[in-house]
């Protein structure tokens, strides 16, 4: 594993009376694509701004390559930021925008010219040197903003919802571009978004946040398949979150019916949350299912149908399937044991927002 490049230790930050980050610990390894994912107001942008030097934490320190940079102003940090609204200098040409950081570093003009050309090629906008930012589309402006950041050869690139202002098609294209850039440049990307699909597509590691606390850290697969609590399960993709009772190891009871699962260590007769992904619910003939139900609605979503099924055990399942089941259709429902994800119920409100240490140890980045 590569070394830790950035380390946040015990960071707290409030704005006025609002506590945004509370004793947060996080480290980011070299050459990783790390995404901070969470709903708005969860503190993800504040973390990015603290790393970038635009905010100072009230408590705690930021380490970069082992060095304490908590008090270092942004212009002296070896990292660059791509802002949500591009933040291009509207009074300069594309070339001058890209050259801005290099001119401050007093690089030679031949070096700068070469770099501009290299960066424009890299973001697929060759020949755009003399255009003004206003004459470019949103996607092009964002690519110039990325070019402007990477010519400085930062060790870390911070991206603050850079695709938020783009339309869906462009956003997907840019996601591939970013993955390609990350692989070509071999620099660390720290990416902030509230879009779970974006996070799953691009990241090596996802940090799920809520209300200033880290909820879970892990690879996209582990976060999706093994969410540690109901918040993560609900935030990453669609979920059926159902009350259940863990009767014993590998046996969970939902709505009075027992189902086989693979989870252990929850004790006897423990109330739990059960997460079943909509695509993991199988619909078949009434005879073949573990329980039965009636289709109450069906919506065509393009790749699949989204179907609501009122089951005999009193639970409303959301199902995603490529098969068409008309409303009122009587169906059998089954879920294989692997696809029951069992989670502890939160004991109190406080525990619902879990503290960082609980997870950073278990799911080491």
């Amino acid at each position: 594993m590569s070394k830790k490049l950035i380390e946040l230790k015990n960071i707290s930050k409030s704005f006025g009376s609002t506590l945004v980050l509370d004793e947060l610990n996080l480290y980011i390894r070299e050459n990783e694509f790390v995404t901070l994912l969470g709903p708005s107001g969860c503190g993800k942008t504040t973390i990015l701004r603290i790393i970038g030097g635009f905010e100072t934490p009230d408590v705690g320190s930021v380490f970069f390559d082992g060095e304490d940079i908590t008090k270092l102003p942004p212009n002296q940090r070896q990292l660059n930021t791509v802002f949500q609204k591009y933040a291009l200098f509207s009074h300069m040409t594309v070339a001058d925008n890209i050259a801005f950081g290099l001119r401050i570093k007093k690089k030679s003009s031949s070096y700068i010219e070469e770099k501009i050309k290299y960066a424009l090629d890299l973001v697929n906008l060759p020949g755009y040197e003399n255009r003004m930012p206003d004459s470019l589309s949103g996607g092009q402006q964002q690519r110039i903003a990325i070019a402007r950041a990477i010519v400085n050869e930062p060790k870390v690139l911070l991206l603050d919802e850079p695709l938020g202002a783009l339309d869906l098609k462009l956003r997907q294209e840019m996601q591939y571009e970013l993955i390609r850039l990350k692989n070509e440049l071999g620099i660390t990307f720290i990416y902030v978004t509230h879009d779970q699909e974006e996070a799953l597509t691009m990241s090596d590691t996802i940090v799920v946040m809520n209300q200033g606390y880290i909820q879970q850290i892990g690879t996209p697969e582990s976060i999706y398949n093994e969410p540690t609590n109901a918040f993560v399960a609900d935030f990453i993709g669609e979920s059926n979150i159902i009350d259940g009772i863990m009767l014993k190891d590998r046996l969970v009871q939902i709505g009075g019916v027992s189902f086989e699962c693979v989870d252990t260590g929850f004790g006897i007769n423990e109330p739990v949350d059960v997460v079943i992904r909509p695509e993991d619910v199988e619909l078949k003939d009434p005879e073949g299912g573990m329980t039965t139900g009636t289709v109450t609605s069906i919506i065509f979503k393009g790749v699949h149908y989204e179907i609501q099924v009122e089951s005999a055990i009193g639970i409303n399942f959301m199902v995603q399937t490529t098969q068409n089941f008309p409303i009122g259709c009587h169906v059998g429902i089954s879920v294989i044991p692997d696809n029951f994800q069992i989670m502890h119920k939160p004991q109190s409100e406080d525990e619902e927002i879990m503290s960082a240490e609980d997870y950073s140890a278990g799911n080491a980045v």
């Binding site: 970038g52 635009f54 660059n80 402007r148």
Partner: protein, 274 residues
Amino acid sequence: MNRKKIQVLSIPYVIWIIGFTVIPLLFVFAKAVTSPQGAFTAGNLIAIFDPVHRKALFLSIELAFISSILCILISYPVALILRSSKIRNKKIILFVMILPMWMNFILRILAIQMLISKNGLINHFLSLLGLGKISIINTEAAIIIGMVYDYLPYMLLPVLNCVLAIPDDIIEASKDLGANRFTVLTKILIPLSLSGIGSGITMVFVPSMTEFVIANILGGGKIMLLGNVIEQEFSVTMNWNLGSGLSVTLMIFVLLTTLISGRTVSETDKGFVI
């Protein structure tokens, strides 16, 4: 609204423009190119090359230029301070700063006169402290003080509007790319607020250049700006033709200034020219 209605509504304005702008201007132009006897002559226009007139013109330009620069030097830091301050209602601060603008202009100049005259308030305090008197009244400096005091709001408003409109993330982006405070100021803030400075210059320089009341009151009638010369031609010498000729010359200079500062405005594509 259909076209006809718009045309009907525009009638009062057309009458206004013809009656109060076009016809008076034509009168001025007609007087400017004729002698008092009514014969055609270019003498009134050439009169600007007369040493007395030339001196007055250059002094007008010089004082207007200095006042504009001083207004920029005062307004810009104020705009930067207001931009970085965390005060929620910046409009109130601005309101207080431009409040004097709501008072009568002559009254404000008379107040300045009271302050800086030989036995004025400032000298009174200085003598109380046992310090020597200063004599600014009836100097060019006094006129500049008056002009700056009077026209500062016209610089402050467009400059402040422009500086406040610069998004925070542009500043953060420049710092992110390694810019220190000085670079942020010279490469980002000032270029992005040129349009406001341009509007401000137009609104301070032009009235300063045509000024004669401030020069009369604070200059004690000893310092002749071109505005004073023109005023005297109309009210003392009663040579309206020469007065008109000099007015037309002054208008040409004003027009040139507006075009030059207007270019800065249109280059950055913001603000407005009057």
